[in-house]
Subunit: 231 residues, 2 copies
């Protein structure tokens, strides 16, 4: 019976029924006073309430599960979870499947984040953090190959984001880094600003927030210059 | 037959089979030289190649459809699309279903973006843009209610992001704004920096990029001060 419903949908507009049910379920979860960990009605109850087949309901539930909004627990059935706001985003964030304009947008987005993080950084940095960042910068070899440079870029800038004390920001940027790396590999020549990682560490140790903002701009300047050329 | 497969899965670990198929399909789409618009193998072919039931395959395909990686076209069947990298993210980005720590993280993320966008802004702003921004700022009434202030905040800052010429950034921030608005409604008193929207417009007209960076910091300073208090 359930598979008949599917067959019928297939011939008209596939997935539309699941789309409708998905939207209804999301609305339902938002508007009801459920808390993370609360048990939800059973599949049978939800299917009946919505007047849809179990198969369609399951397809919609599967999407919510992928979004991290619900999870299935042994014995307790489905429960509401804290949604993983970056999880689904992460799945499509691959340089090979993103079009060129969006890649460029994301590259710029990372420049914006780097330029903007000084305030949080100076609010929350600790001596221990700065020492760890210095160790990363000192371990870098500037005459090494592209792959190694990308790896140390990731380590250094990843640590900077970590020092902002903002987990979402840190995770977001670590998702953006492969894209940044990919765009860098497309560049024809090696790009290095006047201010390097060790200079930035010195500013964090002895300089002001405004010094850091200027230093970061100099560090990223070759990228901004390239954007200017593209205008 | 297909529904028997489902029933069996249900009793062990629901959705795991779809998870596996989803991952395999994503890998397959990335590694094959498909371009957006290319037709994909049929459901029957994919199900056979993967050795899974049509139902499981459909569940996995439904997720890819939700992520915007594939779409169904009349007559041509499934085709590869440009993935909508922010689409899935948007679905879970609702203040009412996000936990408090993540809300605070996102609030800070927006501050970081605002502080960092001056470089793109000065690279790409046009006189027409600045005039439109000025019209928005002049239409604001500072003595009006909270809802109106949030609306004009959204309009003014939304226009700033638009002026960066980066569509992903613009869409990303418009997704973050409801969260920003929500956090603002939680604040007990009205918060206003020394530099208001009209001042920022004047800087864009006559000032330098560094003036704008300082102005934006002053504009957002009450928020940064509040973060300092929370440390």
């Amino acid at each position: 019976m359930a598979s008949n419903v599917y067959n019928g949908l297939e011939k008209i507009v596939p997935a539309t029924m699941a789309d409708v049910v998905e939207v209804k379920l999301r609305e339902y979860l938002k508007n009801k006073p459920f808390l993370p960990g609360d048990a939800l009605p059973t599949e049978a109850e939800l299917a009946e309430a919505l007047g849809v087949s179990r198969n369609v309901l399951r397809e919609a539930l599967s999407r919510l599960r992928m979004l991290g909004m619900i999870e299935s627990k042994k014995k307790r059935g489905m429960v509401l979870t804290k949604p993983d706001i970056l999880g689904a985003f992460e799945k499509v964030l691959d340089p090979l499947i993103i079009d060129k304009d969006t890649l460029q947008d994301i590259f710029e987005l990372r420049l914006v984040l780097e330029m903007g993080l000084a305030d949080l950084l100076f609010l929350r940095k600790t001596d221990k953090d700065v020492a760890e960042l210095e160790a990363i910068a000192k371990a870098e070899k500037y005459d090494s190959g592209k792959q190694f440079r990308i790896k140390s870029e990731i380590e250094f800038h990843g640590k900077l984001y970590e020092m902002t004390g903002n987990n979402t920001l840190k995770r977001f940027q670590s998702m953006l880094l492969p894209i940044f790396g990919y765009v860098v590999t497309l560049e024809k020549k090696k790009i290095a600003g006047k201010v390097n990682h060790l200079d930035l560490v010195q500013i964090l140790k002895k300089g002001t927030k405004d010094d850091f903002k200027k230093g970061m701009y100099e560090h990223l300047k070759p990228h901004f210059d390239r954007l200017k050329e593209l205008e």
